[in-house]
Structure formats: structure tokens, C-alpha cells
């Protein structure tokens, strides 16, 4: 899959998951990579940037089998951004579908 195309939509995927509940980095990476082929470490810089931009916050939670994990939590701003991105994507998807269905030789 084309990298540029992928990159734009990964943010949306991350927000989609975090909009439902808090996750830690590896979880997000695992879930998404079931659907979209991404590198092992691709997700981490994305999460950092979003946290930096105020869309997410994080906290540490003790885990049974290892060091404390960094859990990400979506902010109000993040939710707003998710809503916006989702709408834009749906609009795009709708128009693209229309485009593919049309017979352009009219």
C-alpha cells in the first residue's frame, strides 16, 4: 500500500481506537497491523506527535509482567479532531465510491 496514502489514515485509525478506550502503544500497533501493514515502530512517533499536539495525554499503569506501561488517553481536543477527520474521510469515501460507479463517457 502506498505510504502517503497510509500515513494520512493512520492518525485517524489511532484516534478511532483511543476514542473508544485508553490503549498502550503496542496494543494500538497490533490491532491496526491486523488490517493495515505497518512497521513495528511506526505507531510510536505518531502517538508522540499527537500527544505533543494536545490530542492525547498519557499515564503510566503498572503491569503484571513487566515495567509500567504508557497508556494513551484521548483529550477533548482529540475527540473533536477525530470527529472532524472521520467526517472528512467519510465524505471522501462517498465521493470516491460515486466516482468509481459513474460511467464517465456520458
Amino acid at each position: 500500500m502506498d505510504i502517503q496514502f497510509k500515513k494520512g489514515n493512520l492518525d485517524l485509525c489511532v484516534l478511532h481506537l483511543l476514542n473508544k478506550r485508553d490503549y498502550y502503544g503496542y496494543e494500538i500497533s497490533s490491532i491496526i497491523s491486523r488490517y493495515i501493514e505497518i512497521g513495528e515502530i511506526t505507531i510510536y512517533p505518531i502517538l508522540r506527535k499527537m500527544q505533543h499536539d494536545g490530542l492525547l495525554t498519557y499515564y503510566l499503569k503498572e503491569s503484571n509482567d513487566g515495567p509500567p506501561r504508557k497508556y494513551y488517553k484521548i483529550t477533548l481536543e482529540g475527540r473533536a479532531k477525530y470527529k472532524l477527520m472521520k467526517e472528512e474521510w467519510e465524505e471522501f469515501y462517498k465521493n470516491l465510491t460515486k466516482f468509481f460507479m459513474e460511467d464517465h463517457n456520458d
Binding site: G25, Y26, Y44
Partner: protein, 268 residues
């Protein structure tokens, strides 16, 4: 544990070598990945296999870094140079213009017209030793005013050498272009024309004397060479400043173009 440690330190080394930013954050993420996978039950070996070599992991961060158009320091340096070159260009250009139009002079004196002709003729002279006066009529035949020149008389012996302190009083004289003027000098009483040749001497602004013998119809002032010297020096000055201005300007343009292109790259 050792495999992981070795992997992490190798990765760190490569990142450091390539001057990647936020290395600590990157290592934190890798460690998190390791921990998460280990708790899933994966072995260090398989984790490393899935991750890839430290070089390939580092590459993902290095490329991003290289795409960064300008580090802060190089930005500061570039903009400083642009500023400096702009200032120099303006200064050099102004200097060249002012020197060129004659407003300033590199030798520290005012610049005269470029085509100077021989200035002044001794039209006539009269000596009145009885009353200790020597009168000289001068005509300015050039198109420049003979302005504020300091005249005096000098006395030469047979050998043509100036006789000691035998100067007359000094007179400041201005003769407009194409006009005449009569000047009287008080003769030091003991000078007699039989023994001495009397010359009219003018000292110009550069303190260089020119003189002409006190004989009727004899042209005498010739301070052309000094003025030509000034003009020549000014011309060299104008050329130098012009070249410097051009060089500063060129460097300026190169730097500005460089900055603009990099900014464009960033936007794309």
C-alpha cells in the same frame, strides 16, 4: 537480556552518529516494544528478527532527520549572512555613488572638475621697490574659478634656489573664471630685482606649490596634476566599491535563493 541490551546500545550508537534528535524518546519506545512483546511470551531473538537490524530501524528515523530543511543554527547563520551582505551591498553602492558624483573624496579634500585647464596667466606685473610693493595682475583663463588659493612671492638667487625665508606676505586670492585681478604684495625691503628672480607662488589645498616667474604674459599656475591624481584615485575607489558591492550582492542573492528553495521543499 544481553541480546536486547546489545541491540539497544547498537541502535543508540547509530542514532547518535547520525545526529538524530530525541534519541531518548526513540529508545524508550523500542524498550516499550520489547517489554510488551516479552510479556506476550516472545523471545528476544524473535523480537529482534521482527524488528529488523538496528541499522534498518535507525534508518526510519534518520531519513526524517535529513528531510529537515534547516537546523536552527544554520538558519541563524544564513540569515545573519544575508543581513550582513545586504548591509555591505548598500554601503558599498552608496560609497561608489557618492565618490562617483564627487560628494566625497578619498584623499580627504574636495574633488574638482575633471577637465582642468591651465589656470592663470600673469598678465602684467609692476615692481615698486621704492615703496616696497610688487603688484601683479593675473588672469584666469580656465572655466574653473581660481578659489581661495594662497599666493605669495618667492625670491630665487642666480642658481634658482629659494632665498631662505624670503617670502612675501601671503594673500588669499579668488579669481573667477575668465576674469582678472590685481594683487599687491608687500615686498620685504631688502630685496632688489637685480639680484633675485621673483616668482609668484601658489600653495594649493594639498600644500603643493606651483609657481611662475614674474614676467608679463607668463602662465604660471599648474595644479592640474594634483587634481588629476585626485580624480584618478577617486575613479579607482569607485571601481573598487562597485566590485565589492557586486560581490556582496551576489552572495546575498545566492543565500536568499537557497533559503527560499529550502522553504519551498519543506512545504512540499
Amino acid at each position: 537480556m544481553i541480546k536486547r541490551k546489545g541491540y539497544i546500545s547498537k541502535l543508540k550508537k547509530i542514532l547518535k552518529k547520525n545526529k538524530v534528535e530525541n534519541i531518548d524518546e526513540i529508545i524508550e519506545d523500542i524498550n516499550e516494544l520489547f517489554s510488551a512483546k516479552i510479556s506476550e511470551g516472545k523471545s528476544e531473538n524473535s523480537i529482534i528478527t521482527e524488528l529488523g537490524t538496528p541499522e534498518s530501524v535507525a534508518k526510519q528515523y534518520i531519513d526524517k532527520n535529513k528531510q529537515k530543511p534547516m537546523g536552527n543554527l544554520s538558519k541563524v547563520i544564513k540569515f545573519s549572512f544575508i543581513g550582513i551582505c545586504s548591509v555591505f551591498t548598500i554601503l558599498f553602492t552608496l560609497a561608489a555613488i557618492f565618490a562617483g558624483i564627487g560628494e566625497i573624496d578619498v584623499t580627504g579634500a574636495s574633488v574638482y572638475d575633471r577637465d582642468i585647464e591651465k589656470n592663470v596667466y600673469v598678465l602684467s606685473s609692476q615692481t615698486d621697490f621704492k615703496n616696497d610693493y610688487i603688484t601683479v595682475t593675473l588672469k584666469n583663463v580656465s572655466k574653473n574659478d581660481f578659489e581661495d588659493q594662497i599666493l605669495h612671492l618667492e625670491y630665487l638667487d642666480n642658481g634658482g634656489d629659494s632665498v631662505g625665508d624670503a617670502y612675501s606676505e601671503q594673500k588669499v586670492v579668488t579669481i573667477a573664471s575668465n576674469s582678472t585681478k590685481t594683487i599687491s604684495f608687500r615686498n620685504p625691503g631688502w630685496m632688489y630685482s637685480e639680484y633675485y628672480e621673483i616668482v609668484v607662488c601658489v600653495r594649493d589645498i594639498y600644500n603643493v606649490s606651483s609657481w611662475g616667474t614674474l614676467k608679463n604674459g607668463r602662465e604660471f599656475v599648474e595644479i592640474i596634476n594634483d587634481r588629476q591624481r585626485v580624480n584618478k584615485e577617486n575613479t579607482y575607489f569607485v571601481i573598487c566599491e562597485g566590485v565589492l558591492a557586486f560581490i556582496s550582492f551576489t552572495i546575498d542573492i545566492i543565500l536568499i535563493t537557497n533559503v527560499v528553495l529550502q522553504k519551498k521543499k519543506k512545504c512540499l
